[in-house]
């Protein structure tokens, strides 16, 4: 892993739009992010967790990875005790998957099924478990229903793109980036009205706008409407928008666990992955409560891979690497936007977690 990010990371001079956050929810005594384990992560690697040729995960190995990761994170000897630190039988749990790259890459149904199994082991009923995503056409390619018990909900906010019916009109972030008419991004209504806890399950992916997409982007852009407006031309406002959204209550308080699925990864062209050209296989899962710390580790995982592939660094803000729309899809040294990996540090400044590598404690486990 790289020891330190370039100086460009500081980005203190970046222009931050004026945000108006509207929410009547109060924060929990201890918000889920960064939660009880700030600056900590359990990193579990298993060479046999996925067959690279078929891209088929091994459920038994994944089960072992989840158990070892959760035990290492919490220090508990019994995996059930580890989950019980975050979830009670009375909870209604939202599992925020990531399907933007499906079916090439997504929160693996094998991983999600293992999370569901552990929730049920704690006593959560299937009817109180909601696997959710924003866009129906993305999640329907994954068929989570084939992996989880009957009764578990599989739900999307937008059965037709752009519809706001499933978002909370009273919980939103208002701002204008590019003179767009709709200046509000509303939180998914279920986050406030139904879920008592959220488990965040991002992937390990490059992202053309935000540099990488991990815990923070999945929980932020994945729980609010009307977020694509933050990009236009080569400019993206992901630097400040991601952290701002992630910090809105009750999302911040109720997101109690981060389980990053790195069985597969995408080192360029993300968040999408229409072909295997830019896919790779970290065969790693990261566990924690601090999304900033985990995403800081992700930054180096993606950038190291890009260096190995002789691709332009996620940190490079040079205009010379900007290409015409679509060019980046085939060329790993072409950027669609000036990337904003500094969004992770920005989120750290908002109190969502620990950014500095030397302050992040990682428990490395080999299965």
């Amino acid at each position: 892993m790289a020891a330190a990010a370039p100086a460009a990371l500081a980005a203190d001079d970046r222009k931050v739009p004026k945000y108006r956050v509207v929410s009547h929810y109060q924060p929990a005594t201890q918000p889920g992010m960064p939660g009880p384990y700030p600056g900590q992560a359990a990193s579990v690697h298993a060479e046999k967790c996925i067959d690279e040729s078929t891209e088929k995960p091994d459920p038994a190995v994944v089960r072992e990875m989840v158990a070892r990761g959760m035990r290492a994170l919490t220090g508990d000897a019994d995996v059930r005790d580890a989950w019980a630190r975050f979830i009670t039988p009375a909870d209604v749990v939202g599992i925020k998957v990531n399907c933007s790259g499906a079916p090439g890459i997504m929160a693996s149904p094998v991983v999600v099924a293992e999370i569901v199994r552990n929730l049920m082991a704690v006593g959560v009923k299937p009817d109180s478990i909601w696997i959710y995503e924003r866009f129906e056409e993305q999640i329907e390619t994954v068929h989570y229903d084939r992996y989880v018990p009957e009764g578990v909900h599989i739900w999307t906010a937008e059965t037709s793109r752009g519809s706001k019916e499933s978002y909370d009109p009273a919980t939103y972030v208002e701002t204008t980036f590019f003179d767009e008419e709709d200046t509000r991004s509303n939180m998914i209504r279920l986050v406030g009205s139904r879920f008592t806890k959220i488990v965040n399950v991002p992937n390990m992916k490059d992202h053309g706008a935000s540099g990488v997409t991990g815990c923070l982007k999945n929980i932020a852009y994945g729980n609010f409407s009307n977020v694509a407006r933050s990009h236009s031309g080569s400019v993206t406002n992901t630097y400040s928008f991601i952290g701002t959204l992630a910090a809105v209550e009750p999302l911040r308080s109720r997101t109690v666990l981060q389980v990053m699925d790195g069985l597969r990864g995408v080192w360029h062209g993300g968040p999408f992955s229409p072909s295997r050209k830019f896919r790779f296989y970290p065969k790693r899962m990261l566990f924690g409560t601090d999304p900033v710390a985990i995403d800081r580790l992700l930054l180096d995982i993606i950038d190291d891979k890009r260096k190995a592939e002789h691709a332009v660094s996620v940190w490079d803000r040079s205009a010379k690497y900007l290409g015409a729309p679509g060019d980046h899809q085939n060329n790993p040294s072409v950027n669609e936007f000036v990337r904003e990996p500094g969004h992770i540090q920005y989120a750290g400044r908002l109190g969502l977690g620990v950014y500095e590598l030397d302050k992040i404690k990682v428990a490395n486990i080999e299965v």
């Binding site: 706001k164 019916e165 009273a170 003179d179 767009e180 008419e181 509000r184 509303n186 009307n226």
Partner: protein
């Protein structure tokens, strides 16, 4: 005559097809027609209320629709909307003629009704059922006409540049009225748009100077819905026109002012009610669960409907 007593005109089908299409019209429920000169008697014999409409005296309206120009660079990624509201504002009192291809007839009728203009609409035969359903819906709406409400007064110099500015103001729901002289009752008065001005930049600058906080009406959840606001001291009427092909779900509307009573009429969604109604910070907010091409929301400060 008090404005409130003026009847709002209903748009009318313009039909220049042969008389043997009478059964098609009857089946659709059409009873009233505009026809070319010399044909009214034949249609009256078929028991239609037919009146001659002289296309030459009418202004041309565009067929209302949305266009996606994916291959054209633009300042924004917002689709282009072909709408006529700004034309109606620019030419008050004119009659308009729509040549509405399949899929646009009902929306054309709603648009003309929303602005209270006389319109002849040459709808496509395959649109007749939907067109007639829209006319029936429009007939059932309370026909009181209220004064137009706007943030911006525009002194129109008649130029092409001003035409595009008016189009863009309407496109972005920046409510304006064309006025002869500057009037302090508006938050902003516009005149003399430089010929070389970029109309989009000018419209956006207008928005920034006005500020969103002062806007009488905002919508959230669609960039294909255009609005018209009328009202007086005690009530307001919001016309919402959806130029997209798909229904809009969960459209959020914010109207400046506190209105305790409300009533929704949404085409093709009978009985639908406003949701998440909220009075806060001197504004009224509500959600329209689902709307097709047209919806009308009536708001009153005190008295019930």
């Amino acid at each position: 005559m008090p404005l409130a007593l003026l009847a709002v005109l209903l748009p009318t089908l313009f039909w220049d097809r042969p008389i043997d299409t009478a059964d098609t019209l009857r089946k659709a429920g059409i009873e009233r027609l505009y026809v070319p000169a010399g044909r009214e008697q034949a249609w009256r014999k078929e028991s239609f209320a037919a009146t001659t409409f002289d296309r030459a005296r009418a202004a041309q309206a565009v067929a209302p629709t949305v266009e996606y120009h994916m291959d054209v660079a633009s300042a924004t990624r917002v689709p282009w909307v072909d709408a006529n509201g700004w034309r109606f504002e620019r030419e008050p009192g004119r009659s308009f003629f729509y040549d509405a291809p399949a899929g646009s007839g009902a929306l054309a009728a709603a648009e003309a009704f929303a602005y209270g203009i006389e319109a002849a609409i040459r709808a496509a035969p395959e649109d007749l059922q939907q067109f007639a359903r829209m006319l029936k819906f429009l007939r059932e709406i309370d026909r009181l006409r209220l004064p137009e409400r706007a943030n911006i007064g525009v002194i129109d110099d008649g130029s092409d540049t001003m035409a595009e500015v008016l189009n863009l103001l309407a496109r972005h729901n920046l409510l304006f009225r064309v006025i002869p002289f500057a009037d302090p009752k508006y938050d902003l008065n516009i005149r003399n748009v430089p010929e070389a001005a970029n109309p989009y930049e000018f419209a956006m600058k207008t928005r920034r100077v006005l500020t969103d906080e002062k806007r009488l009406l905002r919508i959230y959840g669609s960039n294909l819905v255009l609005v018209r606001l009328t009202g007086d001291a005690s009530q307001a009427r919001v016309h919402l026109l959806n130029y997209g092909k798909a229904a809009v779900k969960g459209l959020r509307v914010r109207v400046l002012g506190s209105y305790a009573q409300r009533k929704l009429a949404a085409f093709a969604h009978p009985g639908e009610a406003l949701e998440d109604y909220n009075l806060q910070d001197g504004a009224t907010e509500f959600t329209i669960p689902e709307m097709g091409p047209y919806a009308v929301v009536d708001l009153r400060r005190d008295s019930d409907f």
